[in-house]
Symmetry: C2
Subunit: 354 residues, 2 copies
């Protein structure tokens, strides 16, 4: 992305402060704007470009359209010692899911593991942000979410009834970076398709097909086709299971109930997410576990490589590196985004991105 | 499989009784032989041919070689209200994992969800058998296991340090069959490769590659190559996460520690499995949830289909159908297996397969 000469490098603090200003100008209370701005800028920092500041204008459009509640009353509608269902009252996803993770961490301390799901939530950015949160508490996070638009038909079908429903998992290591998987159950996430469109690039074969099953390469034609699941019918099965666990189980939208949040800015999305938190202390000495993770990671990384492969990467390791590089050098923002944010500043009457 | 004219149709009860006799003749206590024979014959009944009676001779070889403990002392080595780690004392996997699922069901009743993992376990047959067990209690099962031989290198690597590490999930429906996903994180499970070899068939392209990255089609040459993960690097990531959750977390073998149970019949495998059980009652009315699952299933099944597709199948639905058909018509056993079991009966001095 940094190849376009008009790409601008922005410091993460400046980006976070700008998002914070914009959300507060739109009427979001300071505490919630702070949480959301932090997580959105962290998404850009780690290279989840399809889930960071690129979403700011759509979020604001939804807020202005009355499609998101700026003053939600978050409450647990079901609760047991090891589980809870948090009703997000149509608040922004970042705030709702952060709260769900906090509750799950507390419950896991008592029970060893805990599951907290959400309903009446909204888009919350990259799954990895939430799967990573338990790590600093010496806990594992396993996260499931229902995506906010259906782009995947059942295997063999033509009607897009499933979203890319991601799975994410954060596992602490001792000296190595944590293992952090964050994967859509499709070959490509729809956010990546949108990023390609914004960058004016074509998609590789295998990301999408059209209704006749032919490869679809132009991301601007994305609405004429659908995403392909990983491993064919297996990816369909995973997307279904994740949707049932993250959505249906919590009473959140799934299948035909899912609102396409790129087209409909008014209807409540009733988004569902769920996190399982596992407290390492319940399984013995956390340091001993983390040392075993180090061993596995090093064995894998040091394996002999196929010709032409320079390095074997663990899940999350490239994001880890990118966070380091972007924290030092800044986050590259494409000209289209920079222009969009400049216009937004004028529109909201706030200080522009520094 | 039923196309070979020498294929024999066997009733599930007869198969179960034969496996039971064989295990008891090898010295397994009656209760454990009963559990194992039931689950092994259920594997064949549902069409998991790579995990049923085909494994009987290798299991007996391991028992005779002293590689499996016929009188294990199963005990919880870690326990919290919502979790447990069950040490299987090197007993057969079917017995160890069944016990782990029973404990998880009890704990889920109290906490809403529960995680029980195993260590010092062994191969336990198809993952779906265990993921399905909570269903009759109005619970969901989410199951992870470390496979018993490494066939998967890290993405870009050449050394097979990971197994096919399956994920399985059983979700109850109301009038529809339950949704039961059971998938290896590779395009094909190694059991399927073995079944192809036994049937004298070739593998489709995409299942395996050789060390130069060329397609490997002859299942008898399987040892010269390795399995391909689903979705490329994503499948590698999933296999790693599943291995860390099912193996490393419980103190079971993972990565380089995994024993190839097809070559080494003596060394303790220290197999790890884990199940998460979710009690639907904690989330509201189980019947309401199950009705919502029905709706999702029916919407997906009734979606318009691609040209040439006769039916859209849900995960587990084909196994469900196969169970029905095989319960009525019998389980088709290939001549090689029939001969093997006849020889085994003579060797053990037990009544042959009826």
């Amino acid at each position: 992305m940094a190849t376009d000469p008009r790409t601008r490098l922005v410091q993460v603090d400046a980006l976070q402060a700008f998002i914070d200003r914009a959300l507060q100008a739109a009427g979001m209370p300071a505490a919630d704007a702070g949480i959301t701005a932090t997580l959105m800028s962290q998404a850009d920092l780690q290279g989840s470009d399809g889930h960071g500041v690129i979403r700011l204008v759509p979020y604001l459009k939804r807020i202005r359209s009355g499609g998101m509640n700026l003053h939600p009353n978050l409450r647990l509608v079901h609760e047991r010692p090891g589980m809870g269902v948090l009703d997000g009252d149509n608040g922004i996803g970042h705030v709702v899911v952060s709260k769900a993770v906090d509750i799950a961490i507390e419950k896991a301390r008592a029970c060893g593991v805990a599951w907290v799901g959400t309903r009446a939530s909204n888009h919350a950015g990259p799954a990895s942000l939430y799967a990573r949160m338990p790590i600093e508490h010496d806990m594992i996070g396993l996260y499931f979410a229902v995506g906010n638009a259906n782009h995947l038909p059942p295997w063999g079908g033509l009607e897009m009834l499933l979203s890319t429903n991601p799975i994410a998992c954060g596992i602490p290591a001792l000296h190595e970076p944590p293992v952090v998987l964050d994967m859509a159950t499709t070959v490509a996430a729809y956010g990546k398709v949108k990023a390609k469109a914004k960058a004016g690039e074509t998609m590789p074969e295998g990301w999408m097909i059209d209704r006749e099953g032919r490869p679809l390469l132009d991301p601007k034609r994305a609405e004429e086709g659908f995403l392909l699941p990983i491993g064919g019918y297996k990816g369909f099965g995973l997307a279904l299971i994740v949707g049932l666990l993250a959505g249906t189980l919590q009473g959140a939208a799934m299948g035909r109930e899912v609102i396409d949040f790129n087209r409909d800015y008014v209807t409540k999305t009733n988004t569902g997410q769920a996190i399982l938190v596992i407290d390492l202390r319940a399984f013995g000495d956390p340091a001993a576990f983390k040392a075993r993770v180090d061993t596995v990671v090093r064995d894998l990384r040091n394996a002999p490589r196929m010709p032409g492969v320079e390095r074997i990467w663990m899940p999350g390791e490239q994001s880890f590196e990118r966070r380091r590089v972007r924290a030092a050098e800044g986050i590259p923002l494409l000209p289209a985004i920079v222009d969009e944010l400049a216009a937004l500043a004028g529109e909201l009457g706030i200080a522009p991105l520094a």
